[in-house]
Amino acid sequence: MNYTFKWSVLWTGQSGQWLLQGLITTLELSAIAWVLAVVLGILSGALRTVPFRPLRWAATFYVEFFRNVPLLVWMFFWYFGVTPLLPRGTQDWLFNHGLEFWAGTIALGVYHGARMSEVIRSGISAIPRTQFEASLAMGLTTLQAYRLVILPVALRLIVPPGTSESLNLLKNSSVALTISVAELTFQTRQIETYTAKAIEAFTAGTLIYLVLCLSISTIMARVERHYAIPGLISRAQAG
């Protein structure tokens, strides 16, 4: 390959600063979107299992609609599609106050909420039906049964697939660059623009994503061990 590597482009000039800014934006975007995704996921995941049909339908509609359209389309939808429906004054305010970031966050959060929902539903389905019935028999309402019995157990069960889904969310945050959010991938392209050294810039981006994701999986593995209910989840020693 006829290419002269020049790794110093990554620490000379403004590259370091850009990568840091990009990293911060990626983390902010992903963190807020993650909270949104988890809330929507728990809500719709739980609703899909309740013994009341209209609520199940509404939740199923949300999940199928949002997870079956590509994320890129959702980015454009929230940025280009929803904005014109707002009142003119609100639009102008948003245009000057980070519309790109918020459209990207909502797109990511709502999309991954639908995927998270399936993870949570599978966790709930893994709990024997009798536990729910026993909760009701003890005098709990449906809401209390979910809040106090079903969800606490389900959330422990879904830590591994939930982690995968969260890592996907983090990596998918890069799609927000299509609507001009200056996140990590955007910044690696920026370095390419300034230095014409694409391979070095993309390698730096790749390594940062890798380190981020590995750290998150390590933390989540500890969380899993910490919250595991003895006897309920049989599993090989993690590590």
Binding site: M1, F80, N96, T178, R189, Q190, E192, A196, T203
Partner: protein, 283 residues
């Protein structure tokens, strides 16, 4: 964890140890019988897919009619031209990895890029301007303080605005359609790109009369064809092709075809630009 780390290490070493083997492009073309060019699909009239689904354009014609015959002469046999899509972030890696032999699109010749690739003679000269809605208060680069300006990511214009006009709020989009959509809906107040590309966009817009291309050039954008660095023989052949085109007038015929009054995008060549192009061959 240890294993993952080892894997990363292997990847990193593999990336760094890729042999810096300079291949002779003419030899490669001779053995394969094909010149592979990296070009654009959505930059009319330089390189784009037209209504009849053909991949055509001014730059592609320059390759087909000026560069290709010269290469055929050099390798002593007829060759084919194969087109691949290249975008600003991918074009230099495509070239370095031998996936393409020549970048012929709308690539501006810059000093930074010259550290990684070689450029041919300049075959088009333009500069950055702004596209705005008719009646906009923005008339040029001096009116953009505090305004939201869209640009194409990876372009030289975005770089200049960031450095010299930090008061503008820059919004960078990966491609032209998204940036134009943002202008259309008011997310941004203006869209900046090379003047010629803005004219191309305006001509294709649903209501061309609603848009104005304004401002003096605030950057210089000489377009060149890019090649792997250090392949002097190949560069000499490409340059000879373009030079013959300038000398014989064939270049200006092709220019007329695309930018003349009946062309895809009427954009008369100015005397300054013509002088600039001819100065390269000592005229």
């Amino acid at each position: 964890m240890k294993r993952t780390f080892a894997l990363v290490l292997v990847l990193a070493v593999a990336l760094m140890a890729t042999p810096a083997l300079a291949q002779d492009t003419l030899e490669k073309i001779k053995s394969s019988g094909t010149l592979v060019i990296g070009t654009r699909t959505g930059s009319p009239p330089f390189a784009y897919v037209n209504r009849d689904n053909q991949w055509v354009g001014f730059t592609i014609d320059l390759v087909e009619m000026l560069v290709k015959p010269e290469i055929e002469k050099a390798v002593g046999k007829p060759i084919k031209v194969e087109k691949k899509e290249s975008t600003p972030p991918t074009r230099i890696p495509l070239l370095s990895s031998n996936a393409v032999d020549l970048i012929a699109g709308t690539m501006t010749d810059t000093p930074q890029r010259r550290e990684s690739v070689d450029f041919s003679l300049t075959f088009f000269y333009t500069g950055a301007q702004f596209m705005v809605k008719k009646g906009s208060p923005i008339k040029g680069v001096n009116d953009i303080a505090g305004k939201r300006i869209a640009s194409q990511q990876g372009s030289t214009n975005a770089k200049i605005l960031r450095e010299k006009y930090p008061q503008a709020q820059l919004r960078e989009f990966p491609d032209q359609p998204a940036a134009f959509q943002a202008l259309l809906q008011g997310q941004v107040d203006a869209y900046t790109n090379d003047g010629i590309q803005l004219y191309g966009l305006k001509a294709k817009a649903p209501k061309p009369d609603e848009w104005d291309v304004v401002g003096d050039f605030y950057s210089e954008e000489p377009y060149g064809m890019a090649m792997r660095k250090g392949d002097a023989k190949f560069k000499a052949v490409v340059d000879a092709g373009l030079k013959n085109g300038f000398e014989s007038g064939k270049y200006f015929e092709i220019y007329e075809k695309w930018f003349g009054p009946k062309g895809e995008l009427p954009y008369p060549i100015t005397p300054q630009v013509k002088a600039y192009l001819l100065k390269q061959i000592g005229k």
